[in-house]
């Protein structure tokens, strides 16, 4: 069993925040999370956040949408009930492809956009009624927070770094106990 200290380092500007993050990481301290009022560009590699793969999901959803639309139009127009509309018969799919392009495109976009948005909301657990994820409400206004969970000796080192980089506040928010994994 390990007991860890919860530390909130509060900044009022993103420049010292980035400096603190790189110093913490350089001294081997893991940054649990950072809360900012707006997307700070270039922060991901400094904090150690890998690039999100959500665009790949969008591509897969898009391909799914395209396939479903193709299957639907093939089934309805060619297979189930072929019609001769204005001298343009629906005998096989490929001769009618030009007329099917708009809906194939719309279905691709529909599935890619909605699939990706749902994945995003669920992956971040942004759902109606979810509890606010920022520990300090000021971080949606004008404050930036480094959130740390550290052992006692690391806490001392982190405290020094936070204060030396110009943290406005360093708040100790109690401890949590982490069960070791077997």
């Amino acid at each position: 069993m390990a007991t860890k200290q919860i530390i909130h380092g509060i900044y009022s500007d993103e420049v010292p925040l980035l400096e603190a993050c790189s110093k913490l990481r350089a001294s081997g301290i893991r940054i649990k999370d950072v809360f900012t009022p707006f997307p700070v560009h270039g922060i991901d590699p400094i904090v150690g956040v890998p690039r999100t793969r959500i665009a790949i999901c969008a591509f897969i959803y898009g391909i799914t949408g395209l396939s479903l639309a193709t299957l639907m139009m093939w089934y309805m127009m060619i297979h189930d009930w072929p019609n001769d509309i204005g001298g343009k018969p629906n005998w096989e799919y490929y001769t009618n492809i030009p007329a099917f392009i708009p809906i194939s495109f719309e279905a691709t976009v529909f599935c890619a956009a909605h699939g990706m948005s749902l994945t995003y909301l669920l992956r971040c657990w942004l759902v109606p009624g979810a509890k606010a994820k920022n520990p300090d409400p000021r971080t949606t206004d004008d404050k930036f927070m480094i959130y740390l969970e550290l052992s006692d000796e690391q806490s001392k080192k982190a405290d020094e770094i936070l204060r030396s980089t110009g943290a406005e506040e360093v708040n100790y928010k109690g401890t949590i106990t982490i069960e070791p994994k077997y």
Partner: protein, 461 residues
């Protein structure tokens, strides 16, 4: 943090801090509405009620209540539909296309422009659902299994493409808008003190916290949605134009329709954004964020798209003459000199001549002039759709089917009703939603804020 060229004019005026931005955006939500808001709201609701009355009457007695007749079977309904859908296009263009081009001035206006898009598409939806005549059977537009001998909708028809295009466009726009709203709702949730408001915004903010991982995904999702919405916005109005262009009616059967409709849509949409933004910046004191420069940028878009529309009108005339097809030639002659010449004249004046006035810097940076011209452009764009539909259908191939057209009280009522609905929704939105994407705006404060730019300039000397 990237520095921006000193030549670029600041996008945020005055010495603003992050806190100031929060305060300025939340002010209309926490504060009380002034008298002007109540006056506008009352007028809008009354117009909306009139519209609901005329709408109910139409559903009750059928579309015989409209001025549309045998021959002129599309009239104000489709004119209004295309007009509203066109207005909607500016919102997506601002939030998606300008995002891809990294145009930072979009950040002050994208939220409201997207809201405008959604409300405009709702207005357009009223006309398409109603013009079918029996709106309770509109579910037959969707490919649902049914009891009529498993007959499916016709996927070769542009009218069905339109169903798919408009519904995809509407839902994707709503999702794009809402994903951007989540962080701003969280800001309001953390700021307001009234318990009921706090609860409402907590529900709307979906528990957003601003974690670095969430921001990373947020930016990726915004970028990919912008990439998906960009071809979507072009496809929607292209498909709307196919409704006409794939028919064999002279004056409609032209390949120029898709680009001409899309640029016309952007043209009218930007005009509507200008009308709304000029009111909003004044009423909610947002002059520091929606600056004269923003208005000038939008006016430049108006010149470009207005000129494309003008060229398209002239190309249509040239092609009609050059094609040597008499019916085609007559269609345009009839539009310009026939019994409805006044609508053609209104279209030409409002859409081709008036935007050219924006070549004068003095005029495109003048707020009263821009406000008036933005309304003129929207009147012109309404007439464009009217000219395409009504005079054309009054004079088709067979002289014995030639007909005239005049709208009824009900036609006017539904149209005015949708304008009322649009402004009712927009006025409600402007008092409950963050009208500017404040999180995005904070991210450009240091690069594009007036005071920060001055500091950066001094640092180099």
């Amino acid at each position: 943090m990237h520095a921006e060229s000193q030549i670029r004019e600041p996008l945020i005026l005055g010495n603003k801090t992050y806190r100031n931005i929060t305060d300025d955006i939340i002010a209309p939500i926490e504060g009380k509405a002034n008298r002007l808001w109540y006056v506008l709201f009352t007028i809008s609701v009354l117009a909306f009620m009139w519209g609901i009355g005329c709408l109910s009457y139409t559903i009750g007695v059928g579309i015989g209540a409209w001025g549309s007749n045998n021959g002129v079977d599309w009239a104000w309904d489709i004119t209004n539909f295309v007009w509203w859908i066109g207005i909607g296009h500016a919102g997506t263009l601002i939030s998606a296309v300008l995002l891809l081009f990294r145009q930072k001035w979009r950040m002050a206006i994208n939220r409201s422009a997207e809201a405008m898009t959604i409300f405009a598409v709702l207005c357009a939806a009223i006309f398409v659902t109603l013009h079918t005549g029996r709106p309770w059977l509109d579910y037959m537009l969707f490919p649902l299994p049914n009891q009529f001998g498993s007959l499916w909708p016709n996927f070769n028809s542009p009218l069905l493409w339109d169903v798919f295009a408009v519904s995809t466009y509407a839902t994707v726009s709503i999702v794009f808008w809402y994903i951007g709203l989540i962080p701003d709702f969280a800001m309001i949730r953390d700021r307001v003190v009234k318990p009921r408001m706090k609860k409402a915004y907590a529900l709307l903010s979906f528990g957003w916290g601003g974690s670095v991982r969430h921001w990373s995904r947020f930016e990726e999702v915004s970028l990919v949605l912008a990439g998906l919405s960009t071809p979507l916005v072009f496809s929607v109005h292209s498909i709307v134009s196919f409704d006409f262009a794939t028919s064999i009616v002279p004056g409609w059967h032209t390949t120029i329709f898709p680009p001409y409709f899309v640029s016309g849509a952007v043209f009218s949409g930007f005009a509507m954004v200008l009308t709304l933004m000029i009111i909003i910046r004044k009423v909610y004191k947002l002059e520091a964020y929606i600056t004269i420069k923003h208005i000038e940028y939008m006016n430049i878009v108006i010149i470009v798209t207005g000129s494309i529309v003008g060229v398209a009108y002239l190309t249509e005339l040239f092609v009609a003459w050059y094609s040597g097809v008499e019916w085609e030639q007559y269609a345009f002659l009839n539009r310009a000199t026939g019994p409805m010449w006044w609508s053609y004249a209104a279209m030409m004046t409002c859409n081709v001549i008036s935007p050219q006035l924006f070549w004068f810097k003095k005029l495109r940076t003048s707020i009263p002039f821009t406000f008036v011209l933005s309304i003129v452009v929207n009147i012109g764009m309404w007439f464009e759709r009217f000219v395409i539909i009504v005079p054309t259908l009054c004079r088709t191939y067979l002289p014995s089917t030639w007909n005239s057209y005049s709208p009824t009280f009900i036609d006017v009522g539904i149209f005015v009703g949708t304008i009322g609905m649009f402004f009712t929704l927009f006025l409600l939105y402007s008092r409950t939603f963050p009208v500017i994407a404040q999180a995005e705006l904070k991210s450009i404060l240091k690069a594009s804020g007036e005071e920060h730019k001055k500091l950066a300039a001094n640092a180099h000397h």
